[in-house]
Point group: C2
Chain length 196, copies 2
Amino acid sequence: MATRTDAPTRREQILREAARLFAERGFHGVGVDEIGAAVGISGPGLYRHFAGKDAMLAELLVGISGQLLTGGKRCVAEADGSPERVLDALIEGHIDFALDDRSLITLHDRELDRLRDTDRKLVRQLQRQYVEIWVDVVRKVYPDLAENAARVSVHAVFGLLNSTPHLSRRDALPSRTAMAELLHSLARGAFAATAT
Amino acid sequence: MATRTDAPTRREQILREAARLFAERGFHGVGVDEIGAAVGISGPGLYRHFAGKDAMLAELLVGISGQLLTGGKRCVAEADGSPERVLDALIEGHIDFALDDRSLITLHDRELDRLRDTDRKLVRQLQRQYVEIWVDVVRKVYPDLAENAARVSVHAVFGLLNSTPHLSRRDALPSRTAMAELLHSLARGAFAATAT
DNA sequence: CCAATAGGTTAACGAGCGCTAACCGCCCTG
DNA sequence: CAGGGCGGTTAGCGCTCGTTAACCTATTGG
């Protein structure tokens, strides 16, 4: 039986490379031949693993949204102390995701409209649940904040945390831990500023 | 001779609609026939005004970057009082742009890689100059901030300010002025948090 | 040992794309 | 009043892309 840290299955390989390519050149900008070449097979061989190009994108986006939501729920469940702690956990989890899976984060807010109606609705529902978790926690920490203002702030902080893929490759970046700390401070500072 | 606030020329019409469509469905996701239809002419008629689809995107992106940079320079030149004031002016200008030209903002960090090498380099250079203006001002306001940390923070705040297009159309949004104030507070709060 | 299945291959099709060619009417100027 | 250019039109070309078809090989279970 396979242990937990096995060689990645072919499906996973394909998904990884497809995510990278989609993030780099856009969904419509990448051909199936390129995706195949990236995993060492060629073009139509992909159709032994996926129903089509759309299916790859759908699986990626649903997976991302689901992972984020699951992580968010876990933050609320585990650190069920002060809302402050939950918020910190949420921020940290989102940062980990943004730093470790840049291309997925990029896809997540860029290629949603390329999905079939049913898939897009599912992803949007997952995203909305994730946002609501944040909104609830933020409003517990800052009770004076109106609900729509809280939602705008949460979206804004997502934009802030998801900014890492936009950094030019030439810039000397801080270490991962320094980066995570900096982003965390920025996010907390942004929220703190909403309390008049 | 035409006065300043004239009916938009056909070129401008086309650029507006192209920007909107590119932002909605991606550069590769929009056909020239759609762009033509959006301005009431059909398909190849566009080639009387532009050399090609690429040229439209290039003009849009160069225009955006140039406008941002010009606005940034003006902020530094005009409000040459305290760096605090300059920073506020920069934030305000960027917010105006993000709120008034959502689709341009979307294009600006999404479709850069679809440009020809020469155009892309130009746009990147303009972008870098704009970023450097911000970095300089931020480091004057927060002298303890290291340069690369300042740059990361500036990119992050751009992500924060550019988050407005991601808001779902169903959400009840605050008024424009309230929105601008909120974003301004969030941005200042984020920067403030970098000063330990 | 044989046959089925998993996982590839190449060839090719059909649709859609950007773009060009060829043509046309309107307005404006000499 | 002639004529030229500006700003459109439709037809169609050539290419690329996603997808399917047909075929091949290796592993594996009965």
